[in-house]
């Protein structure tokens, strides 16, 4: 019972190496050369900023009037500026103050933005309304003008202006955190945590902060860069504190002496530029690594994910005295494979053969991962990205669909082979009316005029049992129920008089009473149009209701095939027997609760028995 052999989806049962799944972000970033380079550069800058008092040969603010604008020599390695101050010392101390200023802005915006985003996203209601209002107002304010006004009021202070700029930047974090938190808030595992009795702080700490942690790191690198750039701009304009050396100020000084000492502008420009580039590159590679970790599938597929081999097993065929009519579709030894990340192919359908005659409903039944849908999609030649027919043929009225070019296939698909999907809603385009989605295909495949097509569409809608065809014709998909949408898709499928209808779990998404109606409709239409039908389903009740023949699929192979009655009455393959045995309809009901173990008197022993 507990063995993972019965895992319905073989892909899920494959266990990736624990270490790879959990490889820390830091380690992966370090393996990225671009990120490593940026990190190293930033580390050098930070170390020299912190160690500036030790490294700097002179006081950054000591002006030596005798040595104004001197060129680099042994006393001043990078020369002196317009006031005779040592450029190297100013560069080192400038790093200290510039970075500290940017950090102040960053921390301020993180504290405000993240807390606000968490609270607003998690609690919603008035906190949400109020903070969204405040944040929108902040975003509407032009930051530079606010900073200029603030300088006029509080005077030239690097710290004050960076604090204010931090507040101005907080929407960047607020919106990021708010969006992720609102997405997670309604996840079932958060509900489950609430039911488990976790306090809100704990839920936020465990389940919510982990989701936003990584994006915050990425955003920090970007916002830090922005803060540094704007700060340098302000200082360059001469709005900073003269006594605090920053890169921006050096830039301004270099600009003033551009013609006499052009080297002066190079150093701060290089420092600012390279730091900004490093921050941006770091943010980019962090984001790349994060996104890669969200798609572990590629890595997982490299594992030998072949299913347990059922190689060479005979298909159990029930004798039925041959087909009732001419074969519309004949699939012979079909194999379907998906490309894997390492260039190999993973096969999901093996050696499947089946024949569907005119006027016959052939059921493909199996559990998830059995390849039933893949087989159906192959007949439409609509396999998802990466999937292809790796072997065998699909004969449709004598043409091999597996070998047909895309252009010829387009002529067949939709007009001679029609399709009914599982999810009716996602198969209707929400931005067009139902009518236009029915008329358009008919104009193309039946070459009808718009008027003829409209008349036919209305007749079809009436035929599939839609009570008010005109209203549904003019409606948009979101205005009708799921059952109605499925009827619309059925109307569309039969609109071009197809020879073959492929229905992929057509009633699975519907309520049981609606399912019964749709099954009735399919049965009527099928006998009226004498279509061949392939019905993909996991529900044996649906098979019993509609199918003439059935093929039971397991792990990409047909294990048993034959007339429906014969399969239900005499299942031969152990897997078919297992599936039929799992149907609950056969079992007896549970009956009423025996009264003696009810009531509160049983409680103490119950608690004891548990331990």
């Amino acid at each position: 019972m507990s063995t993972p052999v019965h895992a319905p989806n073989p892909q899920l049962a494959v266990i990736p190496p624990e270490a790879a799944a959990k490889a820390s972000l830091l380690r992966r970033v370090l393996r990225n050369p671009l990120a490593l380079g940026s990190l190293l550069f930033l580390a050098v800058i930070i170390v020299s900023a912190v160690a500036a008092p030790l490294l700097a040969p002179h006081n950054p603010n000591t002006a030596d009037i005798s040595a104004v604008l001197s060129s680099p020599d042994s006393g001043h390695l990078l020369g002196t500026d317009g006031a005779g101050r040592d450029v190297l010392s100013r560069l080192l101390f400038g790093a200290q103050f510039s970075l500290a200023g940017a950090l102040l802005a960053l921390v301020t915006s993180i504290v405000i933005g993240v807390t606000g985003g968490l609270l607003a996203g998690y609690y919603g209601k008035w906190i949400d309304t109020a903070s969204t209002w405040v944040i929108s107002m902040l975003m509407a304010l032009p930051a530079i003008i606010v900073l200029l006004a603030a300088r006029a009021v509080v005077g030239p202070s690097l710290w004050a202006s960076m604090l204010i700029f931090g507040v101005m930047l907080s929407p960047a974090f607020f919106r990021l955190v708010y969006a992720s938190v609102s997405a997670v808030r309604n996840e079932l595992y958060v509900d489950a945590a609430r039911v488990s009795g976790l306090s809100d702080t704990r839920i936020i700490g465990i389940h919510i902060l982990t989701v936003v942690r990584a994006p915050i790191v990425v955003q920090s690198a970007i916002v830090g860069g922005v803060a540094l750039a704007v700060q340098s701009g302000l200082e360059f304009l001469g709005l900073g504190d003269i006594n605090v050396p920053t890169w921006g100020q050096m830039l301004s000084d270099g600009f003033t002496n551009l013609y006499t000492a052009p080297l002066l502008i190079i150093w701060p420009a290089l420092a600012i530029g390279l730091t900004l580039i490093s921050l941006t590159l770091l943010a980019n590679s962090l984001r790349d690594e994060l996104e890669r970790s969200n798609a572990p599938r590629r890595r997982r597929r490299k594992q030998p994910a072949e299913q347990p081999a059922v190689v060479g097993e005979e298909v159990m065929r029930h004798d039925d005295g041959g087909l009732a009519g001419e074969a519309v579709l004949r699939i012979e030894n079909l194999s379907v494979g998906y490309e894997t990340g390492d260039g190999g192919t993973k096969r999901v359908v093996h050696d499947v053969s089946l024949t569907v005659a005119r006027g016959e409903v052939h059921g493909l039944v199996g559990e998830s991962g059995s390849g039933k849908t893949q087989t159906a999609w192959s007949a439409l030649r609509l396999l998802p990205e990466g999937g292809r027919i790796t072997g065998g043929s699909i004969f449709f009225h004598g043409d091999d669909l597996a070998a047909l070019n895309e252009k010829d296939m387009e002529k067949i698909r939709g007009s001679r082979i029609a399709y009914i999907p599982q999810e009716p809603m996602s198969n209707l385009d929400p931005s067009f009316t139902i009518g236009s989605q029915l008329v358009e295909p008919m104009r193309i495949c039946l070459r009808m005029s718009k008027k003829e097509a409209t008349t036919r569409a209305l007749a079809l809608l009436a035929r599939v049992g839609i009570p008010n065809p005109e209203r549904t014709f003019a409606a948009y998909p979101h205005q009708v129920s799921g059952g109605m949408a499925q009827r619309v898709l059925i109307a569309g499928a039969i609109s071009c008089n197809p020879d073959l209808l492929i229905a992929d779990e057509p009633t699975t998404a519907l309520d049981v009473t609606v399912q019964a109606e749709v099954l009735d409709l399919l049965r009527d239409l099928q006998s009226e149009f004498r279509m061949a039908v392939i019905l993909v389903t996991h529900n044996f009740g649906v098979v019993a209701d509609l199918c003439d023949r059935v093929s039971v699929m397991r792990l990409g192979r047909i294990v048993e095939t034959g007339p429906t009655r014969s399969i239900f009455a005499y299942p031969r393959h152990p897997y078919t027997r297992e599936l039929l045995g799992a149907i609950l309809g056969e079992t007896s009901p549970r009956g009423p609760l025996a009264t003696f173990d009810a009531g509160p008197s049983a409680s103490p022993s119950r608690k004891g028995a548990l331990r």
Partner: protein
């Protein structure tokens, strides 16, 4: 003496509608239902019938605007946050979707330890409890340090059941716990639910859209239709000889996995529909 464990009395749930002075959306109107200790009450209905809302109202996840939800005689319909946290030892939940009900970034052990840590259960005892839980839901004993995504749907649902059982609750609200599972897995998980109930005498409020699932597991069955309970009674009677016209429609609409019997049921359904519309 014979007080039910859970007694839902005339409960109405309304969600505020968007827009100024818009009429609120009424998901449940005046619903009454009771669950006895150790009993499984099935709640069956179609989408939008309010069956999930009723389960969520018991868990405090849906706003009860009128009526009472009595748990051991105490009204919990409007329990505050701290009272709810206390109730966590008594009322638990298993959700439908085993893929989103487990935090993908936490290991199975962390997930199971979570409710225990909150209750300040010592580490040694909590790991012992988790081992016992693995055995109870028949998961391999070494599942602890793996992530949910390494398990199949059925196994994930077992993890969710283990989490619900961690605090030895008296009632578990099961919200479509087998609907997302394959046929054979579904049968096995249902057996597990039954076995656990027989071992621990926990009560279930078992929400499902599938009459057969409910029939298989429930002692008593309630049928919901448009926010209302239309039939409530002995499981066998409700699921094999329904009295209410809607339950009858539901009963005959579910296809039987036997071509002959299904042909017959189809006939009966058409006759019934003709009668009901007449």
């Amino acid at each position: 003496m014979n007080q039910p464990l859970l007694d839902i009395q005339n409960v109405t749930v309304e969600y505020p509608a968007k827009g100024f002075r818009a009429k609120p959306f009424r998901a449940l109107s005046n619903v009454s239902l009771d669950v006895r200790a150790g009993e499984c009450v099935g709640l069956v209905g179609e989408s939008g019938s309010g069956k999930t809302t009723l389960g969520r109202a018991v868990l405090g996840l849906a706003p009860v605007t009128e009526g009472k939800v009595l748990f051991r005689g105490q009204d919990i319909a409007h329990a505050g946050r701290s009272e709810r946290r206390e109730l966590a030892t008594d009322i638990q939940v298993v959700f439908q979707d085993p893929y989103t009900s487990l935090n993908p970034s936490r290991t199975v052990e962390q997930i199971l330890a979570e409710p225990l840590t909150v209750r300040k259960v010592p580490r040694s005892e909590s790991s012992k409890r988790i081992k016992a839980l693995f055995e109870m839901v028949r998961l391999p004993a070494d599942s602890g340090n793996r992530l949910p995504r390494e398990f199949s749907g059925g196994q994930r649902q077992r993890i969710a059941i283990a989490r619900a059982l961690a605090l030895k609750p008296e009632l578990i609200v099961c919200d479509e716990p087998v609907s997302a599972l394959d046929l054979s897995t579904q049968a096995r998980v249902l057996e597990l639910f039954k076995d656990i109930q027989e071992q621990t005498h926990v009560a279930y409020l078992f929400v499902s859209h599938d009459l057969e699932v409910v029939r298989h597991i429930s002692h008593r069955v309630a049928v919901m239709y448009r926010g209302d309970i239309v039939e409530f009674g002995d499981g066998d009677q409700v699921t094999s000889a329904p009295r209410h016209p809607y339950t009858q429609r539901l009963f005959f609409a579910a296809p039987v996995a036997d071509p002959e019997a299904q042909a017959q049921r189809r006939e009966e359904r058409h006759r019934l529909l003709a009668e009901q519309t007449a």
